[in-house]
């Protein structure tokens, strides 16, 4: 009976109810979009790193979310030889140096990630499902030359084609000799150039960003990482799960920021619900007096007003999830065009979280109006016109 009454009460003022529900929907929808970015990034990282990453990644010092996403090369070059010298002892099958450089532009179309890899390295060994879509891959004799193979997404996003020149600095430019792709996004979104060419272009002869290691027994990666750490105390050795963990840590940091922004929207939504309920209670004081006169207890009115707030929030939350889903599709369309990755995902836990937050919001914003309704004086309420 109480839910029917609550529903009827809300529809007595359809425009006000709809606008309030819309306010909640926008608040919840924006929260869903913001938080779905984190969910999407987690999924993307898990699929990318988990399936194609190296068995061990080597960094200079510890690898954590606050310092390790910069592309400043820090690993002294001699560690490459040192690690190769230890290959047989630790069952290392491949040692690959990597120099990364991010060239920021004013728009995503002008921003590029350069990956310097030994030109002799067969990229098909590094990236699963690697394929050359046009032109060719790097060859050993490309080392030191200004040539590049670019990911299919980069080519599409920046409208690049074979033969075009990519300028890295005033003196250095790279000719595109191949367009490549793989089943994951790292290659698709990078420009791969010979290691020595990139070192020359950047003026960094003796430093690397990372070194990757392939192992004979990948299952022992964690154990080998510990042993290597004892030999090379200045280096950090990360397994795939370590890398994922650090990335997760980074996503969590952004979670807090996104949640903070969402909270502001939610507070505005909660104020809208509270305002609507307060107005409703004020307008219905006489009706509440009648209801009390014919035998309703104070707690009935308390429950009624709270039910209305919850119902309003719940309907708003459902609409918000749908709105968020639509927004997320739009975000993914843009992200797919720009970087070839779906960066937002609507997971069941996110839907549950959004609805739970709306429930708490309804509960909090309905409390004061509900207390007020429960405390009316019957004779005074009924005397009101």
């Amino acid at each position: 009976m109480i839910w029917q009454l609550a529903s009827n009460s809300l529809w007595r003022r359809p425009i006000r109810t709809s606008l309030t529900a819309l306010g909640i929907a926008v608040a919840v929808g924006s929260m869903v979009i913001f938080l779905s970015l984190g969910e999407g990034l987690r999924k993307a990282f898990a699929s990318q790193i988990g399936s194609i990453g190296p068995d061990l990644q080597v960094s200079f010092g510890d690898f954590d979310a606050s310092t390790s996403f910069t592309t400043l090369p820090e690993i002294p070059l001699h560690y490459l030889d040192d690690l190769q010298a230890q290959s047989s002892r630790f069952g290392i099958t491949r040692v690959t140096p990597l120099l990364s450089h991010f060239r920021a532009g004013l728009s995503p179309g002008n921003s590029f990630v350069f990956q310097g890899l030994p030109a002799s390295e067969d990229l098909a060994n590094l990236f699963i499902d690697f394929q050359v879509d046009a032109g060719r891959s790097l060859r050993a004799d490309d080392e030191g030359k200004g040539v590049a193979v670019i990911g299919a997404q980069v080519a599409k996003r920046s409208q690049l084609e074979l033969g075009k020149q990519l300028r890295l600095s005033g003196d250095y430019s790279f000719e595109i000799v191949g367009i490549v792709s793989s089943s994951e996004g790292i290659v698709d979104n990078s420009i791969v150039v010979p290691l020595t060419s990139l070192q020359a272009a950047l003026g960094i002869k003796d430093k690397l960003s990372f070194i990757t290691l392939d192992l004979e027994e990948p299952a022992r990666a964690a154990e080998i990482a510990t042993q290597l750490k004892e030999v090379f105390p200045n280096l950090g050795f990360q397994t795939r799960s370590d890398v994922l963990g650090v990335l997760e840590q980074g996503v969590r940091i952004t979670d807090v920021v996104r949640l903070g922004i969402s909270t502001i929207a939610l507070i505005v939504g909660a104020i809208a619900v509270a305002n609507t309920m307060m107005m409703s209670v004020f307008e219905r004081t006489r009706e509440f007096g009648i209801v009390r006169a014919i035998g309703a207890r104070p707690r009935f009115l308390f429950a009624l007003v709270l039910s209305e707030a919850l119902l309003l929030s719940f309907v708003g939350a459902l609409a918000g999830v749908i709105l968020g889903r639509l927004g997320m599709i739009a975000v993914n369309n843009i992200a797919t065009n720009l970087i070839g990755l779906e960066v937002a995902a609507l997971t069941p836990r996110l839907v549950l979280f959004a609805i739970s937050v709306a429930f708490v919001m309804g509960l909090m914003s309905g409390l004061i109006p509900a207390f007020r309704a429960a405390r009316i004086t019957i004779a005074t309420a009924m005397a009101r016109e």
């Binding site: 009648i290 309703a296 004779a379």
Partner: protein, 231 residues
Amino acid sequence: MLRAQELSKRYVLASGTVQALKPFSYDFSPAKVTAILGPSGSGKSTLLNLLAGLDSPSSGSILLDGNDLSQLNESARAELRLKYFGFVFQSFNLINILNAWQNVAFPMGLTGLKQEKRKARAFELLSHFGLGERLYHFPHKLSGGERQRVALARALANNPEVIFADEPTGNLDSKSGAMVLDALFELAAEGRTVIIVTHNLELAKRADEVIFLKDGELTNAPVELGQPAIP
């Protein structure tokens, strides 16, 4: 039996204390219609509110079958009103978001009666008052007389012992008013206590007992009523 013992009500305002009802004692007999008369501001509605447990007395007590209402808390008073009292108001006071049968069924819902049963009883009561064709009409689609009959049906929903009517014919045409009054007198004839606050002298003449209030005090009734003011 509803009994008022030294019942009084005073309001403390910024301008001073107002004695809305001076100590009042009276036994309201079952199976009788008692009319409460008096000019505006004489304390009629205050008395009705106190008797019905809608307001708390400043002093004195209200006894229903020996139980003192004034000693009960809000929830207990609500339960008592729900089970033992029925109300008919001048301005009908139906719940606008509920249709006719839902309005009648509402007090039954508060007792926890299942929907099928309360719907059946609401239909029965409304049909009894000639509203069998208006079951699904909302209050704004009903005439004044029809609304007051819905209110009467609602007042009887939980089969109360006492019916309080505050100017029940005040907003009705003479035909509808007569119909409502007949219904109230029928209820008294069935054994219920019916207490009516009114300005209507014709109604007062039909009443079994008359209480005349002036300045918050029981006083002599107008002679045209032909009844003693103070029993």
